[in-house]
């Protein structure tokens, strides 16, 4: 139980909305959210589909613990085929939207087809309808959110929507919910735009029940909140500094990718760190960070709520940006800062606001700007292409201008919207794109953290830290400390993290809980809520099954083992400083063993035995 056992299916082509029961056999095999939605997706969509065609589908899915009192139980995911990578896309978000979907009585919403004109979906418990959104098309996320609340005269509606970036065809556009939480990666917002869906607005008053053993659930979730509170990372580090607690740590380690990953340490890291967000600024004595905020049900509350210095060049004539909004998280701060060489905290915060306002993935955006900066410094592109912008590493002015253009899909921002891979290919320098399977890297240099190299290379959605965050083990020693520079044991480590993460992502809980919780803590919470036996072993097996299913989809989509690689820069150019000095990422020492342990051929294809072992659909 804990599932509502109901799916809302929205056929956009003919405007028909229907309810159907959740496939409970699949729920036992794939749990919910990421896993279960992927099972539906592979059943219903041809892997070869053009991601931006009406034949692609788009699923918003919650987990069984979404909307419950389990700490961090507020997550939902967007599952579709990615226009950026051509792989399965699965982007996870917090905020309050996911819990509202459960409160309205739905486990998932499946969008299919394409609406002839712009619409938004409005759901109030059992009632769902498509409403014309011609007047909202062309508006930002923030304006759309305001308009929909006004139109329904209901401040309690929770809204997820796309901004102008997605409408312009930007390939890394996000779906933003609750103004500043995002299903950020892989261009899921672009898919929603291709279907003419501007927003999904929800109001749920039914509540979340269906808990298998309520007393046990209350007891176990209560006990596990204490574990989070007592842990140094989830009880102190994250609430105080957010994920930005990592900026100085990773920089010290010589694993902070800098200036399009040419270097591994950034001289300006402190200026854009979590600590810097606590320092009073000269102009008004206020800190960048106003306070921390929690997503639905989260007792960690790592979220940053920040403001930009009103006297800063980026906003001094724009009072609409003087208030508070979602501040810098580590990956965004890295992509917008060290990777572009910009050390101006206010510029980064403002650009992060723009990413929220118009729905951009700040990781892909920053990383693509970094690649463009290298193209510019190499003379491959000039002010002629950029429209007069001196696109130099370290230029806050250039970063701000290019962000404004990209958010609205104007000028050179249209080219940035192609993503780093297509941009670098277009200008004949594909080797400058720091991507795997077309998706830009996050903030950990795999020369200094070897396990992350294997993580990136094998991630089912292209370069991503959230598929197996071995930084936990290799840097923070969670659950056990491993040597970040060693490759031995990393295939096993990556697989364990990948499987556990897939299970957590399918439960409705947040992966950040795993700084303190392992499956030993999470399985009992799932088991108290969900019918069936949810032991640690079963959760790990479900995670492995999800991983294999995603991989199987990608292989059917036409990817091969050759796509499980890294840019040459990381494989050939050694780190220039720090503990990893002289080292490259030794992917070759890890990948064959990884394939073997996964039950794949030396070409990275699933063997028939592996397919059978996990009961994958034929």
């Amino acid at each position: 139980m804990a599932w509502t056992k109901k799916i809302l299916r929205v056929n956009l082509t003919d405007g028909v909305i229907s309810a159907e029961p959740l496939n409970m056999e699949w729920a036992q095999q794939y749990l919910g959210q990421r896993g279960l939605a992927t099972r539906y997706f592979v059943e219903e969509v041809d892997a070869q589909v053009d991601a931006l065609s009406p034949d692609n589908k788009f699923i918003m899915a919650t987990g069984p613990l979404t909307g419950t009192m389990a700490s961090t139980g507020g997550r939902y995911s967007c599952i579709t085929k990615s226009p950026l990578t051509g792989t399965i896309a699965c982007s996870n978000s917090g905020g309050f939207f996911g819990a509202e979907m459960k409160n309205a009585g739905w486990d998932m919403i499946i969008f299919e087809g394409k609406s002839p004109t712009p619409v938004y979906l409005y759901v109030e418990d059992d009632q769902a309808r498509l409403i014309p959104a011609d007047d909202l098309w062309g508006k930002s996320v923030w304006a759309t959110d305001e308009e929909i609340h006004k139109k329904h005269q209901d401040p309690q509606i929770r809204i997820a929507c796309i901004g102008r970036a997605a409408e312009s065809g930007n390939l890394f556009a996000a779906v933003v919910n609750d103004l500043h939480r995002a299903a950020g990666r892989s261009g899921v917002g672009t898919v929603l735009a291709s279907k003419n869906v501007k927003a999904v607005a929800l109001r749920g008053t039914r509540g979340v029940g269906n808990i298998k053993d309520m007393k046990r659930f209350i007891d176990t979730t209560f006990e596990h909140k204490k574990v989070l509170a007592a842990n140094a990372v989830t009880g102190a580090g994250l609430p105080t500094y957010g994920t930005q607690v990592l900026m100085n740590v990773i920089n010290e380690l010589g694993a902070l990718p800098t200036r399009n990953m040419r270097e591994v340490r950034f001289e300006g890291a402190h200026s854009v760190s979590g600590e810097a967000m606590h320092e009073p600024r000269a102009s008004d004595g206020k800190k960048n960070l106003t306070r921390n905020g929690g997503c639905f049900g989260c007792t960690i509350a790592c979220g940053r709520i920040s403001s930009v210095d009103r006297t800063h060049f980026s906003v001094k004539d724009k009072p609409q940006y003087w208030g508070n909004s979602g501040g810098l998280e580590y990956e965004a701060a890295w992509a917008l800062g060290p990777d572009t060489g910009v050390d101006d905290l206010d510029a980064l915060t403002y650009v992060n606001f723009l990413c929220n306002e118009d729905g951009l993935d700040p990781i892909s955006f920053g990383s693509t700007v970094a690649a463009a900066m290298e193209l510019f410094e190499d003379g491959v592109i000039t002010t002629e292409q950029t429209g007069g912008i001196e696109l130099k590493f370290g230029s806050a002015e250039a970063l701000v201008k290019i962000a404004e253009l990209t958010a609205r899909g104007e000028g050179f921002g249209k080219e940035i919207g192609l993503g780093s891979k297509r941009l670098c290919e277009k200008y004949g320098r594909p080797e400058l794109s720091m991507t795997v399977k077309g998706q830009e890297f996050p903030a950990y240099d795999p020369r200094g953290i070897q396990g992350m190299g294997l993580t990136y290379a094998t991630s089912n959605r292209g370069a991503c830290h959230l598929r197996s965050y071995t930084v936990s083990s290799e840097v923070l020693g969670i659950p056990i400390k491993t040597d970040p520079l060693a490759t031995d044991g990393k295939p096993e480590l990556v697989i364990a993290f990948q499987d556990a993460t897939a299970a957590v992502d399918s439960s409705g809980l947040c992966i950040f809980s795993t700084f303190a919780w392992s499956l030993d803590n999470i399985a009992p919470q799932i088991d108290a809520a969900c019918e069936g036996d949810w032991s640690v072993e079963k959760c790990a097996e479900v995670g492995a099954r999800i991983w294999q299913l995603e991989r199987d989809f990608n292989m059917r989509a036409g990817l091969t083992g050759a796509d499980d690689t890294l840019p040459k820069r990381l494989l050939k150019d050694a780190a220039n400083v720090g503990p990893a000095e002289g080292k490259v990422c030794d992917l070759g020492a890890m990948l064959p063993k990884y394939y073997e342990l996964r039950g794949w051929t030396t070409e990275g294809q699933l063997t028939p035995e592996t397919r059978q072992r996990y009961g994958l659909p034929s």
């Binding site: 700490s71 008053t205 309520m214 509170a229 905020g293 509350a301």
Partner: protein
Amino acid sequence: MQKSLHIDPEKCTGCLQCEMACSYENEGIFNPSKSRIKVFTFHDEGRFVPYTCTQCDEAWCMQACPVDAIVLNFVTGAKDILNDRCVGCKVCTIACPFGTVNYNTATGKVIKCDLCGGDPKCAEACPTSAITYIDANATGLERMRMWAAKTDTQVSTHA
């Protein structure tokens, strides 16, 4: 000793654990829309403010009720709704200056905070102690202590 709910918005992160605890205690499921305590988000200001019934001594809701369905609980000091008397006229929702009494369309009765009979679940669930249940005669004690500490520091720096 009578206790009262004490709310410190500075500490609130907006996680809604209180709303879930409240709705679970009163409705048996997790349903923030039926919570007697509400957390308000002021996005531009970056503030979260939990708000619920303060249990007025001269409770306007109680005085306005035409069927005496709102009664003083002598143990907790709460103004409790007697469901078998409430006729759902909603006059109390108009009388309350703070909006903390609300009508529940599912039951045809009004709902408000009753301090969970002296063991408020919102306070128990709050991860940051933004909501506490403390001596009703000394709700300012913690703030006094904080300022006392500052005052003391100033004295010692000047010494």
